[in-house]
């Protein structure tokens, strides 16, 4: 069966590939900052945003973008001013976001309740042309920030104090990254669902780290892995008739485990060969 001959399958595939590309691009910065779980926190807030959309009869994606961006900015400001430890901020967001979402969906009535599941676990197959246009537009923004401002975002995530002494607009860059993460979460919730969004941001990066030596190479490799697992995941899910979001994430994890094992074996095999016959010469030779 040629799945591309069906419009809805083609849309699903395009949506998944785009999300597979952008989620690791943002994720690389989050992992560098050791904030891998922040995507989950934002995802939970986005649920409240989706519910606001149901309740007010506006597009849930639009309200989710607004609410999760506001949430991400709040987290960033709390982090910057040192008012909350990172894990407490995350805990508050997780519970507040889920509880707020479920509460508002309840107020919005039964029909939304069923709809909610498609945001929690994704529903690639119902991706419409309008959704695709929205995904594409937001993805361009995400790529412009994550790829275009890479040297500056890298400097801030790698050593924030140094970035301040270098006169970089640290606050603006941090907020830009927070909003970009929020946009990515809401774009990706259509594909993999809010509960699995963070996996697509983090797992390809964790895999790429095993292979790459630098930041840029990690980012590019992670984006390549993201596209691959998203594409393969969609095909596998059609074949097995399972949810695409879950198939994508399970496949991403399988790739991670395979790469981790191969990398560990390769390191073990390479180590004896790396040992120099003679001791390394000193870096600086003292003049007598």
């Amino acid at each position: 069966m040629n799945i591309l001959s069906y419009d809805f399958l083609r849309n699903a595939l395009i949506g998944a590939l785009v999300i597979g590309l952008i989620a690791p691009a943002v994720g690389t910065y989050l992992v560098q900052r050791r904030m891998s779980l922040i995507g989950d926190g934002i995802g939970h807030i986005a649920l409240t945003g989706v519910a606001v959309g149901f309740l007010t009869g506006t597009s849930p994606v639009l309200t989710a973008v607004i609410v999760s961006a506001a949430g991400a900015i709040t987290i960033e400001l709390l982090r910057a001013y040192g008012r909350l430890s990172g894990d407490i901020a995350l805990a508050l967001l997780f519970y507040g976001g889920i509880a707020g979402g479920v509460l508002l969906v309840g107020l919005a009535g039964n029909k939304s309740n069923a709809n909610l599941l498609s945001y929690l676990f994704g529903s690639l197959l119902t991706t419409s042309e309008t959704d695709l246009a929205l995904i594409a537009g937001l993805s361009v923004v995400v790529l412009l920030v994550t790829v275009g401002a890479r040297p500056w975002l890298f400097a801030v995530c790698q050593d924030e104090e140094y970035a301040r002494v270098a006169g970089l607009p640290v606050r603006a860059l941090n907020l830009a990254l927070a909003v970009t993460a929020a946009v990515t979460v809401t774009v990706a919730m259509r594909a993999v669902g809010l509960l699995l969004v963070s996996a697509l941001m983090v797992v390809p990066v964790a895999t790429a780290q095993q292979l790459a030596r630098g930041f840029l190479s990690t980012m590019v490799t992670a984006m390549g892995i993201g596209i691959t697992v998203a594409g393969v995941g969609v095909f596998v899910s059609f074949d097995l008739d399972v949810a695409p979001g879950a198939a994508i994430v399970v496949f991403a994890l399988a790739v991670f485990v395979a790469v981790a094992v191969v990398a560990a074996v390769a390191r073990k095999l390479r180590r004896p060969a790396l040992q120099p016959a003679a001791p390394e010469p000193p870096d600086v030779v003292l003049a007598p």
């Binding site: 050791r34 790698q158 270098a166 780290q209 790459a212 030596r213 630098g214 990690t218 870096d283």
Partner: protein, 260 residues
């Protein structure tokens, strides 16, 4: 011309004793000033306050004659922190870290030019890491990581280098390399402020030493005579001092600024 000035600077964490107590510091162009003191003397806090990383409770900071709040000439300053930043979840190559030092001069969201690339390569070469440029900094030794940070500061072609304990826990080869790099930087007209616990091979370069003790300046002048185990006859002290101008510091009969 005054490059760096702190007037009556006070820093206090919580309600306790001040970390800096009305400290005055003035660094002129072309000087190589060492800030010495034991752990907890406030020497690192002083330069962090001077760079705006720690807020002053009272007092003023001026950089290149401009009050800190209005200072925008950050490209003139090369900062070398004590160690590599904590953000190391993803590997970064030596060249990527050093390239971050060029951003202040490159300008926000400007594309990188040939001059930027050349400055980055030359900074990596100056600290002897050209063959490690593509390696992840995490695989380098402590001394090599410190050299990476110095290269990052040099890549911006600064006029003032501020180094926070660049020699702490660093192998001798790297210390000698710092001395060589700083000597060249000063010869080209640069100004250096270096915070140190022990000067080691940097001592011949220092034109003025400021000693802090419990948040106050207790000495400002020539490099003081070493105290503690440095005064030990068995200590390998390679450079000569003129005995006549050796001030004895600190004046309170305590163990001395080396503190060890």
């Amino acid at each position: 011309m005054t490059v760096l000035r702190v007037v009556a600077g006070v820093v206090r964490y919580d309600a306790g004793q001040p970390v800096l107590d009305s400290v005055n510091l003035r660094v002129r162009r072309g000087e190589t000033v060492a800030l010495l003191g034991a752990n907890g003397s406030g020497k690192s806090t002083l330069i962090r306050a001077a760079l705006g990383l720690v807020p002053l409770q009272s007092g003023q900071v001026e950089l290149f004659g401009t009050p800190l709040s209005r200072f925008r000439g950050w490209k003139k300053i090369g900062y070398v922190p004590q160690r590599l930043g904590a953000g190391s979840g993803v590997p970064a190559t030596v060249r990527e870290v050093v390239a971050a030092g060029r951003l202040a001069r490159r300008g926000f969201l400007r594309p990188s030019g040939a001059a930027d690339s050349a400055a980055i390569d030359s900074a990596i070469g100056a600290v002897g890491l050209a063959d490690r440029a593509g390696d992840p900094v995490g695989t380098l030794s402590g001394g090599q990581q410190q050299r990476t940070l110095i290269a990052r500061a040099l890549a911006g072609e600064p006029e003032l280098l501020v180094l926070d304990e660049p020699t702490a826990g660093v192998d001798e080869a790297s210390q000698l390399m710092f001395a060589a790099v700083l000597r060249r930087f000063v010869a080209d007209g640069g100004t250096v402020v270096v915070v140190a616990h022990e000067l080691g091979p940097l001592e011949p370069l220092v034109s003025r030493a400021i000693v802090l003790h419990h948040g106050e300046v207790v000495h400002d002048g020539a490099v003081p005579a070493p105290a503690g185990h440095h005064a030990d006859p068995g200590h390998d002290h390679v450079h000569p001092h003129a005995p006549a101008d050796e001030p004895q510091v600190p004046p309170r009969g305590e163990e001395g600024w080396s503190g060890s």
